[in-house]
Symmetry: C2
DNA sequence: TATTGTTATACTCTATAACTATA
DNA sequence: TATAGTTATAGAGTATAACAATA
């Protein structure tokens, strides 16, 4: 008869533990994947927010991505230094900036997205395409159950 | 025809992103669940390591759990302060301690384990028992694919 | 000489508050 | 008076190095 494991082996049977264990590993791995491009996960998140809606103010980016405005300053600073974004005057509010993507950023983004898909391919290599679809659906369900906002990471590494 | 999402909505379609998003949320949530017991995830991990093999040295605990020995000092300090573990003389090595569980710890542990199961029940509430089994199996596969050690968290919050 | 446990120090991150210029 | 952006500061957490006692 099957014994219920009692030590740390029991944690390997807990879905939340596995999610956290894998999540931490993948977050670190994603940092390593983006590093050669000089990009961090949260600068990547800002770029993706802008590719959909360019010219947002730092305030808009902050609330959309749940990143504090004080932190957003440094993120935009870095993007400007790298020539990936520019602070343009905001039409209609002279206090704010319209953060705008450069052509360089638009050319770079597909490569960054590709890293995310490559990471997914590797981590799910032992699953069939059908199994992958089901896992994706179940993770989306759990994300919703937890009240998480789609595409918003609670703590951008 | 279905458009591929390009902004941050695309991240909601990426398995690694969802794993990280959920993982961070669940780790924080687990901290909140253990807090009323005065326990943190890593003290919990040490207790679980000891329930299986009591009297381990700090060195053994460190390498088993991938926690640095410098950090382990403070963890055992806290467990001693709470009366959950004791530093006993180590038979055969006078440099080391045999970290030993107290009765109080043995009585406490089932309640802590129950929190983990309760968390699992809540996050998987929208899944059937059969779906849950499949998710568990797939997460274990991905954990293995990533080279992670069963039951060992890469960064104990 | 290497190892166990410990302590001290520096470094990174984050959170809070406070400042300026506009609204 | 409130808001957008910015800066400064303090606190928590982590990593590294070094130490005493024992192997």
């Amino acid at each position: 008869m099957a014994e219920r494991p009692t030590g740390i082996a029991e944690l390997h049977q807990r879905i939340p533990f596995l999610l956290s264990q894998l999540g931490v590993y993948l977050a670190d791995d994603f940092v390593r994947r983006l590093a050669p491009f000089g990009v961090e996960p949260r600068t990547y998140a800002v770029l993706k927010a802008l590719i959909e809606d360019d010219g947002q103010s730092q305030r808009q980016l902050s609330s959309q991505l749940s990143i504090h405005r004080n932190v957003m300053v440094a993120i935009i600073d870095k993007l400007e230094d790298q020539g990936l974004a520019k602070r343009m005057p905001h039409p209609g509010d002279r206090r704010a900036f319209a953060v705008t993507l450069t052509d360089k950023a638009r050319k770079l983004l597909p490569a960054l997205d590709a890293e995310g898909r490559a990471q997914e391919d590797e981590i799910t290599a032992s699953l069939t395409a059908a199994e992958r679809k089901i896992v994706l659906r179940d993770l989306q369900r759990m994300s919703a159950a937890a009240g998480l906002i789609p595409g918003v990471h609670p703590k951008l590494v």
